[in-house]
């Protein structure tokens, strides 16, 4: 079984924002992947963006540049 690590998890207000995030990240070679919002963060069932903690600055800058609004940035075991 894969060992859990502390990761950056970006949550969004809508699933569409999460999909837009994936598209923007792929276009701009920003690392990370879509995952279901971890249960420890929310009882909702939306999507979130998961990346290494060290990529935080690049991700935040890319979101500002692309006009993608996050709900929150979390650090949690994924």
């Amino acid at each position: 079984m894969r060992k859990k690590e502390l990761k950056l998890v970006v949550t969004f207000h809508t699933t569409a924002d999460a999909m837009a995030m994936e598209k923007a990240c792929r276009q701009k070679d920003v690392p990370g992947r879509l995952i279901p919002v971890p249960r420890s963060i929310s009882a909702g069932c939306g999507l979130s963006w998961c990346a290494d903690l060290c990529d935080r600055e690049g991700i935040v800058a890319m979101m500002e540049e692309s006009g993608i609004e996050s709900e929150a940035l979390h650090e949690c075991m994924v």
Partner: protein, 367 residues
């Protein structure tokens, strides 16, 4: 108070096993065997009990529905996860709720019942699974193309409690008055004792809230992210019901099994569940998930539930609901279940409506 049911696949499977046990217990104590805890059927029965339709064989205020909503409400309040939200295109969600119910009653069951029927060997349900997967996949394509109903916002905390309170009101009517209708024959007359049904619903709702059990979401997550967490919950439920059906002699791998309340019109089994899967992804969850989300404070999901309730009544008032294969009581001959002409038209309209909703509501216009 907090317990995490979703930090491992084993725990998720355990949540599914618990829900499967609840379904098996309800079937054992008198619910129609392969309905057990079908959300669409039981909302339809509740609509009948309230007098919204006059189909005499499907009228009973199912305590399971009341229990699921109140169970999800109670556990979310107790674990501080209750959030009263609203405002994500409520009337479109009402229409999606209608589509979900119409598709379900063309197939004869919600996704939960589809899985229960699959566990009983009903091959029609396996055929319908194809349609459900295709429907969810179409919804996933819409999500990839920027589909959005807009974000929900925090609202007055009382708003999210309205549906649980209304459900409690129906329970009071059931227990203390003679206002509600009760079927004297047919599926509506078959039920577990009220207290067993209510406790079963409460437990099911609580575990579904904690595990985020969702039939549409589980396939959506596989399609979009190759994530198998939610399908693990469904797997747990399926295995328990499979064992129950084999142990009680209810496992019959066949298409035309009398008494299952199913039909063998393959195209319409596929299209019915296609509509359900498609609409469920657009609405953010299957019928069960809508009840649970409404319980934990989402007024948008409560509106979806209202759409399902109204559509359930319309299905019987307008003759949209299919009939199940059964033995003729007098001749003993097998009478094949069938989809009605009106049901076929409604099903096609529902699919068209899903496409219109899916490809006209975009992220940019939702902001």
């Amino acid at each position: 108070m907090n317990f995490n049911l979703s930090d491992s696949k084993k725990k998720l499977a355990l949540a599914g096993v618990v829900c499967g046990l609840v379904a098996a217990v309800l079937a054992y104590f008198g619910n129609p065997a392969n309905m057990a805890i079908c959300i669409a059927c039981f909302i339809r029965d509740t609509a009948g009990a309230l007098g919204l339709h006059q189909a005499a064989v499907v009228q009973y205020a199912r305590p399971e529905i009341i229990g699921i909503v109140i169970g999800a409400f109670a556990i979310s309040v107790a674990t501080k996860e209750y959030r009263s939200t609203a405002g994500s295109s409520p009337m479109i969600r009402f229409v999606l709720g209608m589509v979900i119910m119409i598709g379900s009653l063309v197939f004869l069951g919600c996704p939960l019942r589809m899985v229960i029927r699959m566990s009983a060997g009903d091959l029609n349900a396996w055929v319908a699974l194809i349609g459900f997967i295709l429907g969810v996949s179409t919804g996933a394509i819409a999500l990839k193309n920027g589909f959005s109903l807009g974000r929900a916002h925090e609202t007055q905390k009382e708003s999210g409690a309205v549906l649980p309170v209304l459900m409690a009101g129906i329970l009071v009517l059931l227990l203390c008055t003679s206002l509600l209708k009760f079927s004297e024959s047919g599926p509506g007359s078959m039920h577990a004792p009220i207290i067993v049904s209510l406790i079963g619903g409460l437990v099911f709702g609580a575990f579904a809230q904690k595990s985020r059990m969702c039939f549409a979401g589980s396939i959506r997550d596989i399609v979009l992210m190759r994530n198998f967490d939610l399908i693990t919950v469904i797997g747990g439920l399926f295995v328990v019901m499979l064992i129950y059906n084999i142990a009680t002699g209810n496992f019959t791998p066949a298409f035309d099994t009398p008494g299952v309340v199913a039909h063998s019109e393959h195209l319409w089994n596929i299209l019915g569940m296609y509509a359900v899967g498609f609409a469920a992804v657009l609405a953010g969850g299957c019928p069960l998930r809508q009840l649970v989300l409404a319980g934990q404070g989402s007024s948008d999901s409560a509106v979806t539930v209202a759409g399902m309730l109204v559509a359930a009544a319309l299905c019987h008032n307008f003759g949209l609901a299919s009939s199940g294969t059964a033995l003729d009581a007098e001749t003993g001959e097998l009478v094949a279940g069938a989809v009605t002409p009106a049901g076929k038209v409604a099903c096609v309209i529902c699919i068209v409506v899903c496409f219109i909703i899916a490809f006209t509501n975009k992220r940019e216009s939702a902001k």
